[in-house]
Amino acid sequence: MSKKFDISNIAKLASVSLSDDEKQKLSSDLSVILEHVQALSNLELDTNIEDVYIHPLEKELVLDEDIEKPSLTHDEALSNAPKASDGKFMVPPSLE
């Protein structure tokens, strides 16, 4: 029971533009992989999601003290900027 998925929608969510050829190839690749993982989807598990820890060793988060640590200089931060002006990163207009 494989699911039908909308490769265009997924590409949009992932912000990657794909050519029609790519869409076709990736669509079929994903189908093959998803079919393989179906065995997992069909597995009955008695483990509750509430019991799942994020850390594989089931460690807890340690909170850090609110004390300043050295950071990047302005120039270092912008050193790889594809486009910058007046100390700001520049991009084409972003609609809200």
């Binding site: 460690k59 988060l61 640590k69 950071s71 990047l72 931060a77 700001k88 990163f89 207009p93």
Partner: protein, 481 residues
């Protein structure tokens, strides 16, 4: 058609911690762009998040202060969407295990208490700031510039349940929340600086219906005034539409301050798929009982508690509300002065009316060091005992704000003490009657308005301060009026 509006409000509060939420870059307030950055807050490859203990403490304070249940074993989630001011193109937030849930906030509306229920309080990080260059309007910009100083600043998001039913309540709620954040000392609460930002979700449905209508999100309200107007406008818009048989589209609309309307934002349709999942870089956050109790013990006096204390002194709810939202020193001053005068109304009026009025006129923001609460209680008590007039009290106050002296000294210097002794006043009255027989005759013949003239003469001949009320009484008695 009887329609009722339902409003829910989402508020973001910037915490005034020293460093950012997931890195130890300093939180800065500057026009200088991109000066407080590190690999983590600009999303460099290989960077990792480390949470700020104080921010967690602050959000726990807020959650406890609003009576929320605290989530003992919580986690952070990634909220995935692409936008240039979001360095990682996901925001670290909380999805289904927020720090606090199911609380409420007391507000005062029309001299009565009410509550706004809170759905959740959760922790997240702020984005950078975009500026759109070009003509200034978003949809005709030529480019966008980005400043990431704000990226990663700790934000608390508070979401109410959809229980608000008017713009008035919405405004009261924000004012209360703002004051709470200030009293907890977790935020400066300056709306104009963006310390506190809010969006509203509004729907309209028939009054008799149990279901809510289609909700519309309204963004870009930058002040309480815009909040009020935007809500009112949107309720009207939706109501008209429904009455005309049109359906409401679920969308996000933008409040246009200049046009005073909400407009559709064409880029968004329906609801976004944020693909929330637990952030693998941040293990489960377990808040121990010890931690929560520590935070609970550190809770200061909250606005509604202050109101209760004020009401106990005899103030009504409305006035108590005003004081609970004033600066701390005003509240402290009130209690100190009340302690002496035991007159809540007078204390309230003198502080919020005269004192603040004079400070505004003199353009000062805080009282001088020498100003003691006793000055005010003295003035109030002197007036109460008829030793000085109300007007004299104002004069004395004005002096005390500007000079390091005492009420007594000022009253003496400016000769403001009133003579209240009846026999002393009688003497003067009779003296004046003797010297103004012609006026007395005219009064006896019906020219009542000359009584005022006589009182004036009495006051003049006394050298300034005798109790005018008593003088008039004695005069009337002497003349058999």
């Amino acid at each position: 058609m009887n329609l009722k509006p339902t409003i829910g409000i989402e508020t973001h509060i910037e915490l005034n911690t020293n460093t950012k939420m997931f890195c130890r870059c300093k939180v800065v307030d500057t026009e200088d762009p991109n000066i407080s950055l590190c690999p983590t807050c600009i999303g460099l490859p290989g960077a990792l998040p480390v949470p700020n203990e104080k921010a967690i403490r602050y959000i726990t304070l807020l959650a406890l202060a609003t009576g929320c249940a605290i989530t003992k074993k919580g986690m952070f989630h990634r909220k995935n969407y692409f936008y240039p001011d979001l360095p990682k193109n996901y925001q670290i937030s909380q999805f289904d295990l927020p720090v606090g849930e199911n609380g409420k906030l007391e507000i005062v509306i029309d001299n009565e208490k009410d509550y706004v229920e809170i759905e959740r309080v959760h922790m997240e990080e702020d984005t950078g700031k975009s500026s759109h260059e070009g003509t200034g309007r978003i949809d005709s910009a030529t480019s966008t510039s980005l400043d990431f100083n704000r990226s990663g600043v700790p934000l608390v998001e508070i979401v109410t349940k959809p229980v608000i039913q008017s713009s008035k309540v919405a405004v009261a709620y924000i004012e209360e929340l703002r004051q709470l954040a200030i009293d907890l000392d977790i935020s400066e609460g300056k709306l104009e600086k963006g310390n506190l930002r809010f969006d509203a979700n509004i729907s309209v449905a028939p009054s008799k219906s149990d279901e809510l209508g289609t909700k519309v999100e309204i963004k870009n309200m930058n002040s309480l005034r815009s909040l009020e107007r935007a809500i009112d406008y949107e309720i009207k818009r939706q109501s008209s539409a429904i009455e005309n048989g049109e359906s409401i589209i679920q969308e996000t609309r933008h409040w246009d301050e200049s046009k005073e309307t909400t407009t559709s934002m064409r880029s968004k349709e329906g609801s976004a798929d944020y693909r929330y999942f637990s952030d693998p870089d941040l293990p489960n956050m377990v808040l121990s009982d010890k931690f929560v109790n520590q935070v609970k013990e550190s809770l200061p006096s909250l606005p509604h508690e202050n109101r209760n204390k004020l009401v106990e002194t005899g103030l009504d709810l409305s006035d108590s509300n005003v004081l609970s939202k004033s600066e701390k020193w005003i509240l402290e001053l009130y209690f100190k002065v009340f302690d002496n005068t035991k007159d809540s109304k007078a204390t309230f009026n003198w502080i919020t009316g005269e004192l603040q009025g004079q400070m505004r006129k003199l353009e000062i923001k805080s009282l001088p060091e020498w100003f003691s609460p006793n000055f005010l209680s003295d003035i109030i008590q002197l007036i109460d005992a008829n030793k000085i007039s109300f007007t004299s009290g104002k004069v004395i106050l004005e002096e005390l704000i500007q000079k390091d002296t005492t009420p007594d000294d000022v009253a003496k210097k400016l000769n403001l003490y009133q003579e209240n002794d009846e026999s002393a006043i009688s003497k003067i009255v009779n003296e004046v009657i003797k010297n103004n027989q012609d006026i007395v005759e005219r009064i006896k013949n019906g020219e009542d308005k000359l009584v005022g003239f006589m009182v004036g003469q009495i006051i003049k001949s006394s050298g300034g301060s005798i109790n005018p009320g008593i003088a008039k009484e004695i005069l009337s008695k002497e003349l058999n009026l």
